[in-house]
């Protein structure tokens, strides 16, 4: 066993590693036990039903594409916002910084309610709804809900990453002939890569499993606005507990596959 490149030796070393690892073991064991309980309880006939259901397939597809769109949109906002919040001080900086964190703090269901009020009760919202920007009970609304709830994770992560990048690197880039944009693109952005990916993973995880605000803002219409998380609710609310469980396991399997893939593909260190 090694601590970075330093080997762990002696009783104190083993005690140190052992006591820290205990928390890892406890956490992972509990998570695995929960999944195992589902697997043991599950009716395999229900799994078959779920796997062959066109509606569930559609919900899976909706979950995937909406969450991917949300990630793309979030990263698109997170990189410039994270950079601005990290590098520039302006009046109201603290307020903007706090506003970014707001969706992390309040219950997601509030987002659904707020969006519903905005698009039904305010002139701007009503104008948008009647001029082609329809979100209520629409698949686009799923993306909007997911974005509002989860973009904060991407922005926060991007800001922390830019905070850690030495500003002198950008300064040197400027003296070497780069424009401000060039310095950002050639120095800061490549160095922020891992932090941005970490933020994207958090955003995706949050968006993929989102439930509360979707029920309020877009509902859960079979074959239209249903996503896997709302399927679980729908199935168990009509007494199909086995199907709900099968969908839950499908949700876990897809989420695990995606997270591991993103880490393996995106987490590799860049060699330029």
């Amino acid at each position: 066993m090694a601590f970075g490149e330093t080997p762990i030796r002696g009783w104190s070393g083993l005690l140190f590693v052992g006591s820290l690892s205990l928390f890892v073991v406890l956490f992972i064991t509990f998570a695995l036990l929960l999944i195992l309980a589902d697997i043991l309880y599950i009716d395999w006939q229900a799994v078959l039903t779920v796997m062959t259901s066109g509606f569930i397939g559609h919900a899976l597809w909706m979950s995937l594409w909406t969450s991917v769109c949300t990630v793309v949109l979030s990263v698109l906002f997170a990189v410039p916002m994270g950079y601005v919040l990290s590098r520039f001080r302006f009046p109201g900086h603290v307020i903007v910084d706090s506003l970014v964190d707001l969706p992390i703090v309040f219950p997601p269901v509030v987002v659904g309610l707020t969006l519903l009020v905005f698009f039904t009760q305010t002139p701007i919202g009503r104008w948008m709804e009647s001029n082609g920007f329809e979100f209520i009970f629409q698949p686009k609304g799923i993306v909007l809900c997911q974005f509002v709830v989860s973009a904060s994770f991407a922005i926060r992560s991007a800001k922390s990453t830019f905070d850690e990048i030495d500003r002198r690197l950008e300064s040197v880039a400027l003296t070497l002939g780069c424009t401000y944009w060039g310095g950002f693109r050639k120095v800061s952005l490549p160095l922020a890569r891992n932090g941005v990916i970490a933020g994207a993973i958090l955003t995706w995880a949050r968006a993929f499993g989102l439930f509360g605000p979707l029920m309020i803002f877009v509902g859960s219409f079979r074959g239209r606005t249903e996503v896997l998380s709302t399927t679980v609710y729908l199935e168990q609310s009509i007494g199909h507990l086995e199907e709900a469980l099968a969908v839950s396991l499908l949700l876990v399997a897809v989420a695990m596959t995606c997270l591991i893939t993103i880490r393996l593909v995106g987490g590799r260190s860049v060699r330029l």
Binding site: D166, R168, L169, S171, V172, A173, L174, T175, L176, G177, C178, T179, G182, K186, V187, P190, L191, V270, L272
Partner: protein
């Protein structure tokens, strides 16, 4: 040639106050002073990385006060070198040439040339994290020189090195500077280092120049007690507020 005219700017409590300086064409000028005296800030102002409240800056006669950093043609080696960790050594050296959008063949030729001159050809495919302090310094110097700058600004270029390496690197810096004939400002707070490279030096204290002259002038004719003490003769020669022969406060 570098001309600084009545430079003034404030950062928090610190003020760079009415600083004027002329560094002659091809001269190796050393900026001395204790930590916090404003040496780095002055270099950053020359690079265009600080906003001036007043004053003017000229490089080879051209007023660069309001020019963007990239248009000043300055080779800048900051403290700890600030090498780009996501690029190989070669990528670091190529950086400025790529920013200039030069043809690839020209970039390759100039990278080869500077690597040869600095004797770092064997490092070109190495990652930054594996380099020693001396190697990093050479790479940073190569990155700054390859763009063929009008002036070279070195911010404590050897302070991160051990004493024996420092001496040889200072010798190298002087050799390269003389070879290229490039006007250079070198920031340091080690007298030994200044003696090795300086044609002239200036001593800064709390944002103001105390004295500018050759190292000999600074040593033999310190203008005030601070300069005398900084040049390490104060404790020997300065008694009761007067500096005795052979040193004079002028």
């Amino acid at each position: 040639m570098i001309q600084v005219e009545n430079l003034y700017f404030r950062i928090g409590e610190f003020i760079l106050n009415d600083v004027s300086l002329v560094v002659r064409q091809g001269e190796y000028f050393v900026l001395l002073g204790p930590t916090g005296s404003g040496k780095t800030l002055l270099l950053e102002a020359l690079c265009g990385l600080r906003k001036l409240e007043s004053g003017r800056l000229f490089i080879n006669g051209q007023n660069v006060t309001d020019l963007e950093p990239r248009r000043r043609m300055i080779g800048y080696v900051p403290q700890d070198y600030a090498l780009f960790p996501h690029r190989l050594v070669e990528g670091n050296i190529r950086f400025g040439l790529e920013a200039e959008k030069l043809p690839k063949s020209e970039i390759d030729r100039r990278v080869e040339e500077i690597a040869e001159q600095l004797r770092i050809r064997h490092l070109l495919n190495r990652r930054i994290e594996g380099l020693s302090g001396g190697e990093r310094q050479q790479v940073a110097l190569g990155r700054a020189l390859v763009i063929q700058p009008k002036v070279l600004l070195l911010d404590e270029p050897v302070s991160a090195l051990d004493e024996s390496t420092r001496e040889s690197v200072c010798g190298e810096l002087k050799r390269i500077q003389e070879e290229l004939g490039i006007t250079t400002i070198h920031v340091c707070h080690q007298l030994q280092e200044a003696f090795m490279v300086a044609d002239r030096a200036g001593i800064l204290k709390e944002g103001s120049f105390q004295q500018i002259g050759t190292m000999e002038e600074l040593t033999r004719k310190p203008r005030n007690r601070f300069v005398a003490e900084f040049m390490r003769c104060g404790n020997l020669q300065f008694q009761h507020g007067n500096l005795q022969q052979p040193f004079h406060i002028t």
